[in-house]
Amino acid sequence: MAGLLLSPTEKVFILHGVQDDYRSDGRSNIDYRPMELETDVVSHASGSARLRLANTDILVGVKTEIDVPKPDKPDCGKLEFFVDCSANATPEFEGRGGEQLANSISNMMQKAYHSSQAFNLKQLCIFEGKQCWKLYIDILILECGGNLCDAVSLAVKAALFNTRIPFVKAALMDGGNIDLQLSDDPYDSKLLDVGSAPLLVTLCKIGDKCVVDPSAEEENCSVISLIVGLTGDRKYYYPKDADKQQSVESKCTTIGMNGPGSVAPKTLKDAINQGIVAAKSLDEALGQALLKERQQNIGIKKHSYGFLK
Amino acid sequence: MAEIYKLIHPLKYFTDYISREVRPDGRKFDEQRNIKLNVNSLKTAEASAVVKCGNTTVVCGIQLELATPKAEEPDLGYLVTNLELPALCSPKYRPGPPSDHAQVTNYLVSDIITNSKCINLKDLCIVPDKLAWVLYCDIVCLDNDGSLVDACIIALMASLKTLCLPSVTYDNDTEDIKVNADIRTPLKVHGLPVATSFAVYKLPDRNILLTDPSAYEEEMCGGIGANFIVCSNEGLLCGTQKFGGSNLLSDSQEESLKISRDRTNVVKKVIETSIKNDNEFVS
């Protein structure tokens, strides 16, 4: 965010705040600001979620499409992330302004979801080597008040959790092409297993400490921030079969750095560990919220609250 | 000091040299720069060559693909030559899509190749109307210090001469394709076109012909790129291009033709020797 300016004195104030683990709005270095989540907000998408973290507002829609798998990965589906920094998020996004940021975020997500241990693409396979599902994950940034990556990853996971993929029967016809039968009943569909889907945690290095969920001002004071993608834990999302599978400790699916500064190796390690802690609590909170919502509107067609206060 | 002078009095600086029968880099008017050629040093390409004429450095790599021929000419393959002038090869270029100058040079190179008829596109067709080779010849300029076209042609020809096509079997009924990369046959190349660039410079009394000009000389002679290119193939001319710059008088015509003749021979030797070495090196 180039637009925001800070005076040296403000920076000093924030910096000292981080030093003694007490930030200008009273949070500690690993506290997140309260968030608001709603899934299934876009009726036309197969899955969608809207997440608001302080002033950061993210809308994610998931669309499904039938596609041909990659020749070198015949039994896998496809994921595609697209980030759109709409110009009314901040004036800098005017024209091509947001492109750089959008690219870097979608890159981050692509990398984070790359490994099968983060998100298993096999569950999107319809007929090996011939047909598979392709998920278009469109991320719309409606307003940005800092800490985009985390918010985006949360929203995406929520949207995927909420995504329904229709059942299809595939049969191999002569001449090698496939004939698909989609059932007419829209409720005849399956949910995805997204328990292990990764969450991104941004750690902003201010002074020689790192903070999570930085406000726009705090982002402005830090020269370097570390982004860690960590796999989630299924037990938060599928408590029923929690007993079956032991709690796996989360894994790094991607690590990236961002900003003109540099860090000492020591700090880097600490930051990663701090990230894991944050990610765990995020994951848990998200899981609870999602399950709760699912509870609330079992059976009844859920009424969507949308954006209005 | 000389640098400063060059900067402040660009024209005078240059004319002073020329009027004294010497070029700023100490060459004579009809003297070309050293050429260094190196084939098959890139393993990812099917065939490749690196050539360096003075400072001008050009890399050419060829990649093979298969496609169905055009409906209009079902028995011809494709030869796609592209010259890339990335921003790193000269401060004049900006990153982004190719500039007009790049496009013009690109056109010149492929034009020379087509005119010289050194590759018969029929040779690239495997099964008429069904399958044909696509030769993607990508030429990259790493350092543009003038006479770009010459270097490009050398690099391109050298790599074409070393190119071998793998054997392909095509089943007409099942339409499936089998390629055996181990059995290869060399591509037929007819003749060897060689381009010779000149820069025409106008002195008050006469016009000077500078052989194999450097980027600086090209600039001084007006226009980007050399303003006179003679291209000959096996004794026949296959294209003379002159744009703008100073005018060309008939005597310098003669001279240019002669110079290009000699150069053709020399370049031919170079390519042959380097390919010979390569074969020795492989065996």
Partner: protein, 219 residues
């Protein structure tokens, strides 16, 4: 790096190399920076240690074999070519900084009031510069992006090379006073803000030497 010492070039250093302590007697000069009480090199080049006369400290600096890729600093003397003249200011292209050549020219701007030191209010840029003049000027602190503010308000600064209207390319005028130049061929006189040097001959000699071979009698 003692083996380089043997080469008789001097101590060779490269970026990030720790050169010395940074304290009273060692201060960091061009091509170096100091961090946590030490002086490090920022360039690949040769270590220079000369005593600074006023503060008795030794200035530690690194000299690069080629002109470092930095821009004109405030206070530098630059050589520039005038491109645009209008009633308020003069625009020009900065070609050299000191003796080092710039690969890319940078835009310079010379405000009306910075042209002369005396009677600032009666300056007419048209009577001081013409497009394609070559001038010497001093760099003022940068306040605008992409425009270096220059000043010629010194006797040594101003036009060094100028070609009179209509006289042939390369025939430069000779200064005949601090405010006038004359073309040796056409004897045209034109007003300029003249710098106190004799440009034409310097370049003449410069050139002849630079050629290495001797055409002294060419002129």
């Amino acid at each position: 790096m003692d083996k380089e010492n043997a080469k008789g070039i001097g101590k060779i250093c490269i970026p990030g190399m720790r050169l010395s302590l940074s304290n009273k007697e060692f201060i960091s000069g061009p091509g170096t920076y100091e961090l946590k009480g030490y002086i490090y090199a920022t360039l690949a080049g040769i270590l220079k240690m000369e005593a600074d006369e006023k503060t008795k400290a030794t200035m530690v600096s690194v000299e690069s074999p080629r002109t470092p890729s930095v821009l004109p600093k405030a206070g530098d003397i630059v050589t520039a070519k005038v491109t645009v003249v209008n009633s308020r200011m003069v625009q020009c292209m900065i070609l050299c900084v000191g003796s080092s050549i710039l690969a890319r020219p940078y835009k310079g701007i010379l405000k009306k009031e910075d042209i002369k030191s005396t009677d600032k209010d009666r300056i007419d840029p048209y009577k001081c510069f013409r497009p394609s003049d070559v001038i010497l000027a001093r760099v003022l602190p940068m306040t605008e992006i992409h425009w270096y503010h220059l000043s010629t308000a010194e006797n040594e600064l101003g036009v060094v090379i100028a070609v009179a209207e209509g006289s042939p390319q390369g025939v430069s005028m000779v200064p005949i006073s601090w405010s006038e130049m004359q073309c040796p061929k056409t004897l045209v006189k034109e007003p300029r803000k003249v710098a106190r040097v004799i440009p034409e001959n310097i370049n003449q000699t410069m050139f002849q030497e630079s050629k290495g071979d001797t055409e002294q009698n060419s002129k």
